[in-house]
């Protein structure tokens, strides 16, 4: 019923619009108003509209940007974010200044030099000094941005420090799995051919010594104040490790493990206090389109004080201890005979 009413209403609106259009056209023909942009009245209206829009637009934009700052400036929890955010705000300030100035000039010129009958424009089309000026100034400003950018980029993408904690993070449709090297500090080998529903990331538990103490917790933990190196794997399609609070983002690519390292600077508890939100958790998201469940690849990351982290680390039991059946020959080597046993 409502849709029928809506349909009728929109038909009426459409009919009225069509009539107004016809009447307007008739009036135009009768009044023989000059067209093709040569009507001073229309020109004035349009120029004023641009001015109004500039003022209203800037007021709305800046007042919202000021009010909502808390909503769009994320709290930071990694050391390297300070250089990222300083460069961000330098660039942003520059952008806003240029944005406002050029728009003021654009719309002011459009207003000031709007058409008036009988006037002729100023025939002027070259000024080498001006051209050189507005080539050089952007070039100089850019070289500052480029220089700063390059030096920060080199710091952030430099190889991880030797003492970094190593964690492996695997992405697959549509979940994450993390793996820690355990007491020996060495991650066991992994191969996609060993993947099955039980051993979801294909770790070589059967043959590799280093894999024996690897553990795979449900939630990822990291220590505060210590560099951590995330080894990122993808098991099926491309995913992307994306942790906004830590300024961390790198693709996860099948067949080509990638790395991102950073130093967490705030524990989960500290962040909870700062935000006055006892339920706060750091989240990892997937940021490369990966299929139906792309929007739901959530993983929780907890940052602990170093002592808490050590304690948590030692409490974890190796994966293979939790899944002893994985090594038993009955279930592994002879899946067929197992099937017949069931019968």
């Amino acid at each position: 019923m409502t849709s029928l009413l809506l349909l009728i209403a929109s038909l009426i609106v459409f009919a009225i619009a069509a009539y107004l259009f016809k009447i307007g056209n008739l009036l135009d023909t009768l009044s023989q108003k000059p067209t093709e942009g040569k009507d001073p009245k229309t020109n004035h209206q349009q120029a004023v509209l641009f001015l109004i829009l500039t003022v209203v637009g800037f007021v709305l934009f800046f007042s919202y940007a000021y009010q909502a700052a808390e909503k769009y400036i994320l709290p930071q929890a990694a050391v390297h974010l300070s250089s990222i955010s300083s460069l961000f705000w330098i660039t942003m300030t520059l952008i806003l200044v240029v944005f406002v100035l050029t728009h003021v000039v654009l719309f002011f010129f459009a207003y000031k030099y709007r058409y008036r009958p009988g006037r002729k424009a100023y025939f002027h089309h070259d000024n080498h000094k001006l051209e050189i000026l507005w080539t050089l100034v952007p070039a100089v400003v850019l070289s500052v941005l480029i220089f700063k950018g390059l030096s920060y980029w080199q710091e952030i993408t430099a190889p991880a420090p030797e003492n970094a904690e190593v964690v492996e993070l695997s992405a697959y449709q549509f979940a994450w799995a993390s793996r820690y090297p355990g007491k020996d500090g060495k991650l066991g080998r992994a191969d996609f051919k060993l993947i099955d529903s039980e051993n979801r990331t294909g770790v070589d538990f059967r043959r590799d010594e280093n894999a024996q103490d690897d553990f795979m917790p449900r939630v990822m933990h990291l220590p505060k104040g210590k560099p951590v190196k995330i080894r990122i794997r993808a098991l099926d399609v491309i995913h992307s490790f994306y942790a906004p609070h830590f300024g961390a983002q790198t693709y996860a690519i099948p067949g080509m493990p990638t790395v991102f390292w950073f130093t967490p600077s705030k524990t989960t508890n500290e962040m909870r206090e700062e935000l006055k939100d006892p339920d706060f958790n750091y989240e990892i998201a997937c940021n490369k389109i990966c299929g139906r469940g792309h929007f739901s690849m959530r993983y929780i990351l907890v940052v602990d004080e170093p002592e808490e982290y050590e304690e948590w680390y030692t409490q974890q039991s190796p994966w293979i201890q939790k899944h002893p059946e994985y090594l038993s020959p009955k279930s592994r080597e002879e899946p067929l005979s197992q099937k017949s046993n069931n019968l």
């Binding site: 849709s3 259009f21 135009d28 067209t35 942009g37 229309t42 020109n43 349009q46 641009f50 829009l53 637009g57 919202y64 909503k71 994320l74 460069l87 660039t91 944005f99 050029t102 728009h103 010129f109 030099y113 058409y115 006037r119 424009a121 100023y122 025939f123 002027h124 089309h125 070259d126 051209e131 507005w134 080539t135 850019l142 480029i146 950018g149 952030i156 993408t157 996609f192 051919k193 993947i195 294909g202 098991l235 399609v237 992307s240 994306y242 300024g247 983002q249 790198t250 693709y251 690519i253 099948p254 067949g255 080509m256 339920d279 989240e283 940021n287 389109i289 139906r292 469940g293 929007f295």
Partner: protein
Amino acid sequence: MSNTQHTHSENFLNRYVFSTDHKTIAKQFLITGVLWAIIGLGMSALFRLQLGYPELDLSCLKPLFGSYITEGGKLDSEYYLALITMHGTIMVFFVLTAGLSGTFSNLLIPLQLGARDMASGFLNMLSYWAFFLSSVVMLASLFVELGPASAGWTIYPPLSALPQAIGGSGLGMTLWLFSMALFIASVLLGGINYITTIMNLRTKGMSFMRMPLTIWSFLLAAILGLITFPVLLSAALLLIFDRSFGTSFYLSDIYIAGEALHHTGGSPLLFQHLFWFLGHPEVYIVMLPALGIASEVISVHSRKPIFGHKAMIGSLMLISFLSIVVWAHHMFVSGMNPFLGSVFMLLTLLIAIPSSVKTFNYLATLWRGNIRFSLPMLFAIGLVSFFISGGLTGLLLGNAVLDIVLHDTYFVVAHFHIVMGAASSFGLLTGIYHWYPKLFGRMLNERLGYIHFWISFIGIYAVFIPLHFVGLAGFPRRYYAFTNFDLFDSFTDLNALVTIAALVTFLGQVVFLFNFFHSMFYGRKAPPNPWEANTLEWTTPSAKPLSHGNWPGDIPEVHRWPYDYSHPLHKEDFVPQHIPLSPKEKEKSE
């Protein structure tokens, strides 16, 4: 109808369908492009509804979309991905490449150069019909059982290679690749023709420096297309091999749907490099014609010569060159060697220099002009505004360090929609409003045009300015819903606002469509030179060149550059290119 040079009989079929006349082909490109724009924008309206109002009951769309609307009246999450993929593909390739470049290169190159037609009318016809076939195939892919291609318009493998990964990577993806192959053929056929015509068929006196900036931009866009589209074709071919013949160019170490695939040694990054080698210049293949059109229109309607003519040409060339060597800025966080990131960041930020030269030259052209706010001028000013707003945020995204934070967030969506989507669409609209009289011999209705402009201009800003904030907050693009993360639970208000603005802007285009088709038959008859412009296309005896050959008599000869507006030695404020220099001018130039 036919003039002395062309005496072959004309019937409906070879006049309107398999025509080799560049003006008819331009109209064919334009109308096909407009139809695609309706489909592409309609898709965005649908997925904006999902993003702004995820609770909305869409059961009423079930007759149209069938099982893509779930039992609960929600959009299916996989179909959401199909929609964004097809929206991107359609808008970038079918609307802004074929619709913009195809229409105006075809219309203006012969007319503004003083040629009777393209160098090869036949190739030109093939170019349109390849595009048409490609359109048919792409359209067909919307109706296959598991949906059209759904791996994003960038179709990164393995997602696009494996039907197990997403439904759209089955038949939908095959049709996508087939359609793109045809599309590339169309672009290449067109491009070769544009370049040949510009090199060889300029009328007497039309030196390169006397060519309008529109022609310069079409030339450079055609060259870019010829260099880069074949690379996309090769990327697509290798992907076809991987998909259908078991090769491993892009695939390695994959366990999917309970099975470890045999592929080893391939590199998904290889595809990204190949794709963006086209994908980035493609932005400029779309953008350059829009900028060229804006240069011409701003000069005509300000009644002033374009400021810094040589600098404009130089910056167009520099932008074109740089656009070929910046592709990997789309891959800063892809895990490629960080040294590459440094190089590509340096080259990327350099593009800001020629771009700001262009911007300042536009502003200087307006200075002390006599600006007529006709419809094309409004859209051209809007284009400059978008070019500035969207271009500036490129300074953030082009910086590899900041890209770590901003990559693939809504900030990117906002950036490229303003600088590429909105600015180029406004280029298309500027062109339509300016050359409509030339295309159809009638004027568009002014009042409807003003309504259309203000709805679109304000609407587009209302859609994309808020998305910058959403992006800064870290919201990832291509998310079907933001309900699964605490991190992304803010901004429901802004997302709703954006959806409303998008719907209003979309409905605003209905005004344009009505104007476009209505004025074709009922618009006011156009005078031969409605905008009092200098370029040669306005020297045909009536607004709409009636026949093959464009000019009934001799082709006009060119004596001056196209920007003699408000010349102090002339009483009129415009001096068309075919008017010989007056004795006073000759004196001065000597």
